[in-house]
């Protein structure tokens, strides 16, 4: 029987209907079509779910349900005392997947790892421009071209990465989907056959699931990889049913057409919770929405003014109106699921009376300001205009007149970075790798002024902590530094931290073994379904 299922699963043409009695098929109702299947090329979460977390592995990965790094294709690693040399020992006996087109002749080795890195930044690599407009957005977005000096093979199973400067967040970066390890042998064969574009259409890696087929805008099919180094999965087939409409996803889940869905409508959550056949998993998302003042422009260069404005806004009302409860009020710039989150920090209390007085004491009266509201819904802020209207009403109570402005999204992103921007801008951030540096330094560091640092806030004390933390490899020590940074942040109030939205994952009661990822990924390794 076991043999029969494998046989059937192996024939790509096998009807799932026909094999339903014998094989276990897990259906996931996903929210969007993947941009492609080469994780290095893209930035969309749906792409990473469809390619990186199914077909591929990385040197290190995030422990399920956490943002902690654990060994994956690298069994262990050493970091030199100066923090500039990382030596990875690769796992032995890792097999790449076998498909009709390709049968691997060797196991994973250092060549594959080096190739996976070099194709993303060495312009003389034949694969650097293998699709038109390939830009390796994440690799450069995370600053790796400026950090990595060279990557060398020590022996078949040892790889050494040398950095230009110490960079403690590197390990977390290497756990990210974009740096998945691809097969050099497969790449060579594609190149020899003149079919390089297949790298992005028929992915092949070391992961738990083997890619079978993609039906555009409809479904992606995988089967369990029998040779997976982590052991063959309990389910035989995995199907992503692409369903862009959240209400339809919910309906399919209730009808039993899929086992698990992503991103329900906030309005549907209550009903899904009431369904006796469903389980709901909830977790604070790795994100933050904020209102950034321009700290270079008077009177917002004064801490008291920023504090007063923060105290005048009823954030709980915003969370209720915009998220219908599916979010928590934010007090720190990093979300509570992230290590080093400082729960001892006290939020500015909602107190219009005190705020009004504080503003008067600061010598500010008749203040008129602009609030920028995003034109699009983002996971951390579903309806920016509604939130802005609520702030407008709150601030009116302390005598501040607010004008709400908005621009087309690309314009908004660009104009909001301007140093002489007029007004406070609403925006947010979704974490990439679970490292606090990815929030704190990226969004509030001095280097980011005129860029990601929309508050244009450069605080020497805060920035020194960031630099120090980057150079420190020890996590306990880094935790202390980041906790301190959060205290400074709250004291100086460059932002009004608005909310962290809640990630809700409804699934059938038959599903077991699914662990929600704080990074917002949908990972199906280890799931099972009861008959």
């Amino acid at each position: 029987m076991k043999k029969l299922t494998t046989l059937l699963a192996a024939t790509a043409l096998a009807s799932l209907m026909g094999t339903a009695a014998w094989s276990k098929t897990f259906v996931y109702c996903s929210e969007a079509s993947p941009e492609g299947f080469d994780p290095g090329l893209y930035t969309g979460g749906q792409t990473f779910d469809a390619a990186a977390h199914t077909v591929y592995n990385r040197l290190v990965e995030f422990k399920r349900g956490t943002t902690e790094i654990e060994p994956a294709l690298a069994e262990s690693w050493d970091i030199s005392a100066d923090g500039k040399e990382y030596t990875f020992k690769l796992r032995k006996g890792v097999k790449f997947q076998t498909t009709e087109y390709f049968t691997p002749s060797r196991e994973l080795n250092a060549d594959d790892v080096i190739f996976s890195f070099e194709r993303q930044y060495k312009e003389d690599n034949a694969w650097n421009k293998y699709v038109p407009g390939a830009s390796w957005e994440y690799f450069s977005g995370m600053g790796l071209p400026d950090v990595i000096d060279k990557i060398e093979k020590i022996d078949d199973l040892t790889v050494k990465i040398t950095l230009k400067r110490p960079e403690a967040p590197l390990l977390a970066n290497l756990g990210m989907p974009f740096i998945s390890i691809v097969s050099k042998e497969y790449a060579d064969k594609l190149q020899a056959d003149g079919k390089m574009e297949l790298m992005n259409q028929q992915p092949l890696g070391t992961g738990p699931f083997t890619f079978v087929a993609y039906q555009p805008d409809a479904a992606i099919r995988y089967k369990a990889n029998p040779d997976y180094w982590g052991g063959k999965q309990a389910i035989d087939d995995l199907v992503f049913a692409i369903t862009t409409d959240a209400a339809v996803r919910a309906q399919k889940l209730k009808a039993g057409e899929c086992h698990l869905m992503s991103y329900p409508n906030a309005a549907d959550v209550a009903e899904l919770k009431a369904d006796p056949n469903l389980n709901i998993s909830e977790q604070a998302g790795l994100n933050v929405a904020y209102l950034a003042y321009n700290t270079l422009v008077a009177p917002f260069d004064k801490v008291e003014v920023r504090k007063a404005l923060n105290m005048a806004v009823n954030k709980q009302a915003i969370v209720d109106a915009v998220f219908q409860g599916a979010a928590t009020v934010a007090k720190n710039p990093i979300p509570p699921t992230m290590w080093s989150y400082n729960d001892a920090v006290e939020d500015d209390k909602y107190d219009p009376e005190a705020a009004k007085k504080m503003l008067e004491d600061a010598g500010v009266s008749g203040l008129k300001m602009k609030i920028w509201a995003m034109p699009v819904a983002r996971p951390y802020m579903l309806n920016a205009r509604r939130a802005a209207e609520l702030m407008q009403a709150d601030l009116a109570k302390i005598g501040v007149e607010v004008e709400i402005v908005s621009y087309e999204w690309a314009e908004y992103l660009k104009l909001s970075s301007d140093k002489d921007r007029d007004g406070a801008v609403m925006l947010g951030w979704t974490g990439d790798n679970g490292d606090p540096d990815n929030f704190l330094d990226t969004l509030l560091g001095c280097d980011a002024v005129g860029g990601n640092n929309r508050a244009q806030w450069c605080d020497k004390e805060f920035d020194d902590l960031m630099t120090k933390a980057k150079e420190t490899a020890d996590v306990a020590e880094r935790t202390k530094l980041y906790e301190e940074a959060q205290v400074i942040f709250k004291r100086e109030a460059p932002w009004n931290t608005i909310d962290h939205s809640l990630a809700v994952v409804p699934m059938s009661k038959k599903v077991s073994g699914f662990v929600q990822s704080p990074l917002g990924d949908f990972v199906f390794e280890g799931v099972d379904i009861a008959e």
Partner: protein, 302 residues
């Protein structure tokens, strides 16, 4: 989509109605048209006097009564005859205010496309030659795109919103008027009365606007009616796709788009806005049929 029958009819659409009473005689023979006119007048009345007719403000939210069903269903109440939406706004009031938007859209679009279309069509049909070829080539280009797709992309370029949606719809509608006017002008131009005025020394503008245009009006009026209803449909479709009027505007298509997520839970938030669109468009189309009967001598015969 509606031009098909009418372009075919233009060759005969020359004779003007000889009087209002004759017009009414033929119009009122079509019972559907009279019903359509009546319904349209009711909608017009409701739209104009919305603040007095509507039981609630279209934007006031009653947070106690979210997704309240209509009165005839269990759980409904007389305060909200057609129920409430997801944030507790009265659906009936929103529909009543929505009528303003729909009629306004129809009016603006028809005015814009008729004025521009007739002017361009007059020029093309009167001068012929290279001007004509050039104009008709441009119209061909516009007509080579599905109208809704072109409007959608245009609105994306201009930025989503009611005003831009109206501009986009006018632009994609206007070639029909150009073609119609041009065809009518071409037939009229060779007729004796035109040649006569020309000989008598009438200037070009006078010939175009005072001699020829009035005699081409009948098919234009019929087409304008159809364009009116088509504009309401297109604007609602754009609103539905999220590119027309933006929430919280109580435009019917936009209301439908907002209601989509409640399709399984609250049928009324989905049903009523669509019904409002259908009734309005149907009433106008009924009138259009009546107008054609009354204005088109060829069909009068049959």
């Amino acid at each position: 989509m509606s031009t098909v029958q009418n372009t075919a009819d233009t060759k005969t659409g020359g004779t003007p109605p000889s009087g209002l009473s004759e017009f009414w005689f033929y119009f009122s023979r079509n019972k559907g048209a009279v019903i359509g006119l009546f319904v349209f007048l009711v909608i017009l009345f409701v739209a104009v006097f919305a603040p007095f007719v509507a039981p609630h403000s279209p934007s006031s939210q009653n947070r106690e009564l979210l997704l309240l069903p209509p009165v005839f269903q269990q759980g409904g109440m007389w305060g909200h005859i057609l129920g409430t939406d997801a944030v507790g706004r009265d659906i009936l009031s929103r529909l009543i205010y929505g009528a303003r938007f729909s009629l306004f859209i129809g009016l603006v679009v028809v005015t814009l496309s008729v004025v521009s279309g007739v002017l361009i069509g007059l020029v093309a049909g009167y001068f012929r030659g290279k001007v004509d070829t050039f104009i008709m080539r441009i119209m061909d280009i516009i007509l080579a795109f599905p109208s809704l797709l072109l409007a959608l992309v245009l609105v994306a370029v201009l930025g989503p919103g009611l005003l831009n949606a109206m501009i986009a719809i006018s632009l994609v509608n206007q070639p029909h008027f150009v073609r119609l006017t041009r065809a009518a002008v071409m037939t009229e131009k060779s007729k004796d009365y035109v040649v006569g005025s020309k000989v008598a020394g009438a200037g070009t503008l006078r010939l175009m606007f005072l001699t020829i245009l009035p005699n081409c009006l009948a098919p234009l009026i019929v087409q304008a009616t159809l364009a009116f209803s088509a504009a309401i449909l297109d604007a609602a479709a754009l609103g539905f796709l999220g590119m027309g009027a933006q929430p919280p505007t109580p435009e019917w298509g936009t209301m439908l788009a907002e209601a989509r997520e409640f399709i399984q839970r609250a049928w009324w938030v989905v049903t009523f806005p669509g019904l409002a669109i259908l009734i309005t468009v149907l009433a106008i189309n009924l009138m259009g049929d009546g107008l054609r009967d009354a204005l088109d001598p060829k069909l009068k015969r049959s």
